[in-house]
Amino acid sequence: MSAAPAPLLEVSGLTRHFGGLAALDGVSFTVARGEVVGLIGPNGSGKTTLLNVVSGRLAPLAGEVRLGGTPITGATPEAVCRAGIAGTFQLARIPDALDARDNVAVAAMYGRRRLEVAAARAEAERLLARVGFEGARSAQADALPYFDLKRIELARALACAPDLLLLDEWLAGLNPTELEAGIELVRSLNADGMTIVMVEHVMHAIRSLCGHIVVLDAGRVIASGTPEVALADAGVMRVYLGESA
């Protein structure tokens, strides 16, 4: 994967403060087309802020985000979606004003494809099947188990037809069986050509999915590379295990 041509996502020098706290302090990295990149780091290291900036929910103070060479820094979330980035939320957000299928269909109606209602619903059914959702498509969110909500979120992100998928702890909170199914699903999406950036605490998932990881601490990139190399880095050991490690 290292031989990939122009990177799909380029993040350079991203900086964002909250009051006196530097949540992001000059973060740079690139993601090649077809890669699965893991973003890891202790709580508060800036992972979710980074995803929020990339997806347009927060404007950076400095730095640049490019998607396929086009700058998208500071674009609104809807513009970022149409440029080709979609994602899931850390805690699943599925409005129960719509049923499971329509929650996905609305992303196909807007997003990048702008399908009409009937076509969007057909697409939503296809995508729900793709992510292994077996529940009733007419079920409301408040009637569904957690893993189903996560699946609907993933199907909704895919319905935007993105080039790049951002997963914010999508595997968190799953039981061991679900976790294996979730890892397989992410792997198969990548096998179909989807580029993925995932924030994750589950190391087992990181090791088995990511060809490349970026380690954040206190808003800075302290290591990056293949999981074996980056996780063995002395700085990373210190951040995760303490000074004496």
Binding site: T76, E78, F89, G135, A143, F147, D148
Partner: protein, 651 residues
């Protein structure tokens, strides 16, 4: 020395603004109640000072020491026994805000109506310490100086209290994060009640101080609520010092505007300042609150009912006499207004209080243009003005949290009315307008019918199009809506413009019914009030909801305005409070719940089947045997029992 005089006068009124904005800040920032009846407390306290002075010879300074604790106690009771239980049951912040707006809006009408009935509409003023003093060469009444000193001292005191006392620190913690405050041992309910009560006490102090140099009448409250809101937004929610500075600035700006421009333009200046602040630095203010929790879509009633109703309405004028026809015109006007209102507010959950602004614009456009030009041109002009006005309001406020929109629309009718009055008086030089148009009531009736059919058809088309899905997503969770590529600002502004045009046309079409019109008639705030309660009574989230509320309320208000004209607004205010308390989802929600009860066994059944099939997840994980009620025989009715069933079924 003229300038210094004016500076002092501006600071005096600015001191009052600072006081009430600090009080409102406590109520909204800490207790999370947007109290639209805030100014009514000020008004009542002003009356208290007036009556104390004229009947008992009490000096207002003494009244302060009675009035402030009394207002504190009453506000505490109001919060603890009415608002807190009412708002506590809202599932989310969005619903809580809407409930607080509606219930305090109802309270506003009740208190205003009571004052009007009890003390009539005349200005009540008394003379206390009105001796001129010489201060650095400027002349100021001793009473005004006292007000300025008291306002500044009290603002400083509240600031120091919030900053340095443990109770103040707890309140600030709640203002920052009501959810995490309990984790560090803060009793949120208790301190919220205290903050709300303190806010009420500050309003009372402001009212008593104000009464010493301004006449009090039942309707002054809303204007002060509006100004307090503007100052809170300018100063920043939760910032006492910001409120103090902004209050003094607003007072100065108003006084200077009155001196340099025209006293009639003060409202316009207020709004100009407000708009500039909103456009310039909204990000320093409260961020966008997530709104969620709309209900699922409602199935349309059988097509036969609306078609039959439409046919009946088409032939009705042949059979109706003048009384019934005018009642039908009334009903159609409010169907257009309430449906037009809900077209935007029901879908997006942004509560607009500006129906009367658009209605009045329409009516006035016809009154001004129709006699000299043509009726058609007047309609076109009305539509054009309302598009510009609503697009401006939408762009200024709809990028922000719903609260700014509520505040802006709350004052919009006053603003437009002030502009029209000023224009009529200074430019056109007319007190009112006489309208002699050869348009019959039947003619008006059919135009209104067409308008109603138009908005309902538009709504139905919208619900089936992509836009309907986008609005449902937006109404439930704006962050999600943007994430999937929906341009929510364009969607909100567009929907708001359509909604405003419908309300404007209702006013334009109805205008020829009046032979005489002035700004107080055209922009009567009751129009906004009735529109909102009708839509909510019926249920604002579905197309047939609003009209369900219109028919009973037009009949009730028709009856009330004949039998108890004086208590009209009191009773309507109580009706609104009752609606918020008793039927939060509106009549259509009641209907849906009844139908839901009938279908519930079926639903419970489906969920079990679903949970079994999935086998994972919280509901299905413990299940060992297939549900006994699968064949539907044992499935009981009602939500409670269906829940029991899902949890207690073990072999």
């Amino acid at each position: 020395m003229m300038l210094l005089d004016f500076l002092l006068a501006g600071l005096v009124i600015g001191g009052i603004y600072a006081l009430i904005s600090i009080g409102l800040n406590l109520q909204y920032g800490v207790a999370r109640v947007l109290n639209l009846a805030y100014g009514e407390f000020l008004m009542l306290a002003g009356y208290g000072a007036f009556w104390g002075f004229t009947l008992l010879g009490l000096s207002p300074v003494l009244t302060l020491f009675v009035g402030a604790p009394l207002a504190f106690a009453l506000s505490w009771l109001l919060f603890t026994y009415v608002l807190h239980p009412l708002l506590g049951r809202a599932q989310d912040q969005g619903k809580r805000e809407i409930d607080s707006i509606l219930s305090t809006f109802g309270l506003l009408f009740v208190l205003q109506g009571v004052a009007l009935v009890a003390w009539s509409g005349t200005d009540r003023a008394y003379s206390y310490l009105s001796v001129p003093l010489n201060l650095f060469g400027a002349v100021i009444g001793a009473n005004r100086l006292l007000v300025l000193v008291a306002a500044l001292a009290l603002s400083g005191g509240v600031y120091a209290f919030l900053r340095y006392s443990p109770v103040g620190r707890a309140m600030r913690a709640i203002a920052v994060s009501p959810r995490t405050a309990p984790l560090v041992g803060i009793d949120v309910a208790r301190y919220s009640a205290l903050a709300f009560a303190a806010g009420g006490a500050l309003a009372a102090v402001a009212g008593i101080l104000l009464s010493s140099f301004v006449g009090i009448n039942p309707t002054i409250g809303a204007a002060f609520t509006m100004k307090a809101l503007i100052v809170v937004v300018m100063g920043g929610i939760g910032h006492v010092l910001g409120g103090l500075v902004a209050g003094l600035m607003l007072g100065l700006a108003e006084t200077l505007a009155a001196l340099l421009l025209d006293p009639g333009l003060i409202t316009v200046i207020n709004f100009a300042i407000f708009s500039i602040v909103l456009l310039w630095r909204p990000q320093g203010l409260l961020g966008a609150a997530a709104r969620s929790g709309t209900q699922g879509s409602l199935r349309l009633p059988k097509q036969a009912i609306p078609v039959a109703a439409l046919l009946a309405l088409i032939v009705a004028p042949r059979f109706a006499d003048a009384y019934w026809l005018s009642l039908l015109v009334n009903i159609l006007t409010y169907i257009a207004l309430a449906t037009g209102w809900a077209f935007f507010s029901g879908a997006t959950r942004y509560v607009s209080l500006a129906a009367s602004a658009f209605f009045g614009v329409g009516a006035y456009a016809v009154a001004i243009l129709a006699p000299d030009y043509s009726y058609g041109l007047a309609l076109l002009a009305a539509v054009a003005v309302s598009i510009v006005l609503s697009a401006f309001v939408g762009l200024a406020t709809l990028r922000l949290s719903g609260m700014y929109f509520v505040i802006f629309t709350f004052g919009l009718a006053t603003l437009v009315s002030a502009i029209v009055s000023w224009w009529e008086f200074n430019i056109a030089q007319k007190a009112g307008r006489h309208l002699f148009l050869s348009i019959t009531t039947t003619h008006i009736y059919y135009q209104l019918l067409a308008l109603c059919v138009g908005i309902i058809a538009l709504w139905m088309v919208r619900d089936r199009s992509r836009m309907g899905f986008a609005l449902k997503t937006l109404g439930a969770d704006e962050t999600v809506a943007r994430q999937v590529g929906i341009n929510t600002v364009a969607l909100k502004v567009g929907t708001f413009v359509v909604s405003s045009v419908v309300m404007t046309l209702a006013g334009a079409i109805l205008a020829p019914r009046w032979s005489y019109m002035d700004a107080t008639i055209a922009f009567n705030p009751n129009t906004s009030f009735l529109t909102v309660i009708m839509a909510l009574l019926g249920g604002a989230t579905s197309v047939w909801g609003p009209m369900l509320g219109v028919v009973p309320l037009v009949l009730i208000s028709d009856y009330l305005s004949v039998t108890v004209p004086n208590y009209f607004s009191v009773v309507l205010g109580l009706v609104l409070l009752g609606i918020v308390f008793l039927i939060p989802d509106g009549l259509i929600g009641l209907l849906r719940r009844w139908r839901g009860h009938l279908r519930r066994p079926d639903l419970a059944h489906r969920l079990h089947a679903l949970a079994d099939r999935i086998g994972g997840g919280p509901a299905g994980r413990n299940r060992v045997s297939p549900p006994a009620g699968r064949n539907g025989i044992a499935a009981p009715k009602g939500p409670a029992s269906s829940q029991d069933q899902s949890q207690a079924r073990q072999p």
